[in-house]
Symmetry: C2
Subunit: 303 residues, 2 copies
């Protein structure tokens, strides 16, 4: 059987866990297009949290809490506080290898997509992982205390603030990274992973040309990040509600209105959502381990 | 007793071991003016080998082989090779804290002297350690295979090449770091540590104003880096010979001609060197441990 071309749009943990499932399928040629709205400069280091989570998770090297590397140590991180550096955003010694490599390469003008390609090759992964854009794109979150960067909202304030609106700084003039639009056009199927729709997927779609490529595809499936109306991880449910979307999977469907043909929800959730033009199907969407990820990935390409 | 102001000019290991002796004396107010000719950019990191060796050694945290930190691990260093980075210039996880901090601070325009001040404070050292200049100064080594940077000559080729001449790129236009000339002028005594005269001390003296300050001082003592005509560590003897200096301590005296009033040689070496205007005295100049360093430092300020 010829391999099936899958493009997945992804944020961090949830999307990464689905991506490891596709990566584990022999007959799938996978391209993961990753959100960069959460990227940041942290003490001079170029941080791309979603890219790292996707790469580490596909490699089976991800840390236990949704960031960093499995079995990492924090010798550097603990030591650097000696010089007055705030090290509460913890970077492990292994994790630092990719982050510092990226920082150095980007400083000498290598685009993020190219750096990511080298990192993916460094882990020996037979997949493509690419930022949606090589240009600067930053998700800004409006709360009652004002506009926050994603890192301020998510890491420093632990997503405690109600989100009034979002803005994707730099998106208007950003170009899709090389191959992104072509990969979507060539894909047999496009999958939107179980990521936070407003915070992880909307910034991807905000890059001119990407939403159009997805809309024009015709075989786009989204996997809900919700189970029983609640988020498996992170603030998706609360953010969607505060942005005025309906609760539960109907909100997911509306967040992707006009984009998707199919929405996959959890087997315990109802499929009758009253969404026009969207087929709602149910299966086990929880992804606690690689077997579950492989099973869901196979369901998505087989269904 | 009022504290005695000592300024020491220093390269790496030998000078650092003498500096830890001065730092251990209660009645000494120490300023170490450090060579930066060996500084380099190594894979995007700002490397100042002599400054780090001096700081780590005074802190009692130096590695066993003349570089890096005691008890360091190499998790980052081993990991980064995954991305095709040549990691033979090994940087430990603890060592990386100072090196990355320096890199980031300098990139945002903080001068090396200010960064060094913060690093010294981070180790809680009650001394001043300063680069001789905040400007770029690079020791270039002419060998039969051409001009090499110091790192190429010393680290990559392990000082195997005969040195034909030296050049200190940037020295002509370099300014002394803030306080360097003043510290020399105010010092009760100026000591040139047991460092490689051409490779570690000449680049310090090459900064306009520094040689003049030392010459004008009147109480300058040098400690020989040689014992029985041989180098305790590194290529000093061979380099001096190939640059046309006489062998042994006479060569050290000539390397510092017009600069020093006193030369301290090892107790097993002869003091009759026929050097005009230089008093030659002998004592134990080997510095295997802190006690030996403290003893030699006390000898230098007491004599």
């Amino acid at each position: 059987m010829a391999s099936m071309k899958v493009v997945q749009l992804s944020g961090g943990v949830g999307g990464a866990r689905l991506a490891r499932g596709f990566a584990a399928l022999d007959d799938v040629d996978l391209t993961v297009v990753v959100n960069v709205g959460d990227d940041a400069e942290n003490h001079g280091l170029a941080i791309s949290p979603d890219i790292d989570t996707v790469v580490y998770t596909i490699a089976g090297e991800e840390g236990p809490y949704g960031w960093g590397r499995r079995g990492d140590t924090f010798r550097f991180n603990d030591e650097v506080s000696r010089f007055g550096i705030d090290n509460t955003f913890r970077i492990g010694d292994l994790d630092l290898a990719a982050k510092l490599f990226r920082t150095i390469e980007m400083r000498r003008g290598i685009p993020l997509s190219k750096v990511t390609e080298t990192i993916v090759a460094g882990f020996g992964l037979g997949v493509t992982v690419t930022p949606v854009t090589d240009d600067r794109l930053r998700t800004m979150v409006e709360t009652e205390i004002g506009w926050l960067t994603f890192q301020e909202y998510f890491v420093e304030r632990r997503f405690q603030d109600e989100v009034r609106s979002l803005r994707f700084d730099g998106a208007e003039t950003a170009l899709p990274a090389p191959g992104v639009v072509e990969a979507i056009a060539d894909a047999d199927t496009v999958v939107i992973g179980p990521s936070n729709p407003p915070l992880s997927i909307w910034p991807i779609l905000a890059v001119p040309g990407v939403r159009e490529a997805v809309t024009g595809h015709g075989h786009v499936t989204a996997v809900s990040p919700l189970v029983q109306g609640r988020t498996v991880k992170g603030p998706a449910a609360a953010v969607m509600t505060s942005l005025g979307l309906p609760p539960g999977n109907r909100g997911v469907g509306e967040a992707y209105a006009g984009l998707i043909e199919r929405l996959v929800v959890h087997e315990t959730d109802q499929t009758g959502l009253g969404l026009s033009a969207v087929e709602v199907v149910s299966t086990d969407i929880l992804l606690p381990d690689l077997d579950a990820s492989r099973r869901l990935a196979a369901f998505l390409v087989g269904g």
